[in-house]
């Protein structure tokens, strides 16, 4: 409730052109926006472009924001639309290389754990990247943002039943593609 009030006050301040309010709004939502973009595209550079574009759009249209939906939902829609409209070639391997390098520098993990984690990460992300955009977006909203079915439906403009159906299909596909990985992680040889 307090957060909602804070959000409304921030929006009102932004609508008055308060620069500090813009900064506060950005700080409140930047991780959310960037995470969705990164998990959908798999590329940090594309994710930065999408996040930048989404915030610029938000700041340019915030005066017209009437509050029919929550600001979060409004922002989710901006990001989702930009992700889905993205026509650029997807470069999926670059983030994996970056994460590989970052993990190799992590002191708390042993080299074998690091290697295993990186390989898992790469294979899971590759499997997700091969999903159709509508299935991938549902997966990202569900697991990156932890949104409930009805909230995902509100963001995507479809019914909760459609969301459930897409999630089910995405799970089936991912289970099939990642089955060998699951067997390896259990240490068994089937």
């Amino acid at each position: 409730m307090v957060l909602e009030e804070t959000g409304r006050e921030l929006v009102a301040a932004c609508q008055r052109g308060d620069r500090e309010a813009f900064r506060a709004l950005f700080e409140l939502h930047k991780d959310r926006v960037y995470s969705i973009a990164l998990r959908f595209t798999g590329d940090p550079a594309d994710a930065m472009d999408i996040a930048q574009d989404s915030f610029l759009k938000l700041f340019s249209v915030i005066r017209q924001f009437r509050g029919e939906s929550s600001l979060e939902t409004f922002l989710y829609r901006l990001v989702v639309n930009r992700c889905l409209d993205r026509r650029r070639r997807e470069r999926r391997l670059l983030p994996l290389v970056d994460e590989w390098a970052a993990l190799l520098h992590a002191p708390e993990a042993s080299p074998s754990e690091t290697l295993l984690h990186t390989e898992m990460q790469a294979r899971v992300q590759t499997a997700i990247a091969k999903l159709a955009p509508d299935l991938r977006m549902v997966i990202v909203l569900r697991y990156t943002e932890g949104l409930a079915y009805d909230r995902i439906a509100e963001v995507l403009g479809c019914s909760p039943g459609t969301v459930a159906s897409r999630l089910h299909r995405a799970h089936k596909i991912l289970e099939r593609r990642l089955a060998p990985l699951a067997r390896e992680s259990r240490g068994g040889y089937v």
Binding site: K30, D31, V33, S35, L38, M48, F55, M120, I128, T144
Partner: protein, 125 residues
């Protein structure tokens, strides 16, 4: 769905922190939009190309016709000059003397056998 998949998806799709440079990028002015007139660029280019082609065609046609006209004038003009050897041709260098010769030879007629070396145009009397 298996617990393993649920766990892996939650792990590998977890939220991340946005890079520090994101706010700085918002300070940059947005990239300039392409002008609205850009959708007319192909029709405009086509019209300009047609205009240029027409201009060249007309110029070429005029230029091609010029030696013929010049030859007619020269052929008609030169016969009455006593020193003319009837070595007529349509090249541009003789064009400068065309009108003087024409004025001088208004009432003369050329032999029927005389013609231009190059284009074989006959003399107009």
């Amino acid at each position: 769905m298996s617990d393993w998949l649920e766990r892996e998806l939650a792990l590998h799709l977890a939220s991340v922190r946005a890079p520090e440079g994101l706010w700085d990028r918002l300070q940059l002015p947005p990239l300039p939009q392409r002008p609205r007139t850009s959708r007319f660029r192909w029709p405009v280019a086509a019209i300009l190309t047609l205009a240029a082609a027409s201009t060249f065609w007309l110029a070429a046609r005029t230029h091609a016709a010029e030696p013929y006209l010049t030859a007619r004038v020269v052929h008609a003009a030169q016969p009455q000059l006593p020193s003319v050897d009837w070595n007529l041709h349509c090249a541009l260098p003789i064009r400068t003397s065309t009108f003087q010769l024409a004025a001088f030879a208004a009432s003369q007629s050329a032999p029927d056998t005389v013609g231009c070396h190059q284009c074989h145009a006959s003399v107009v009397n």
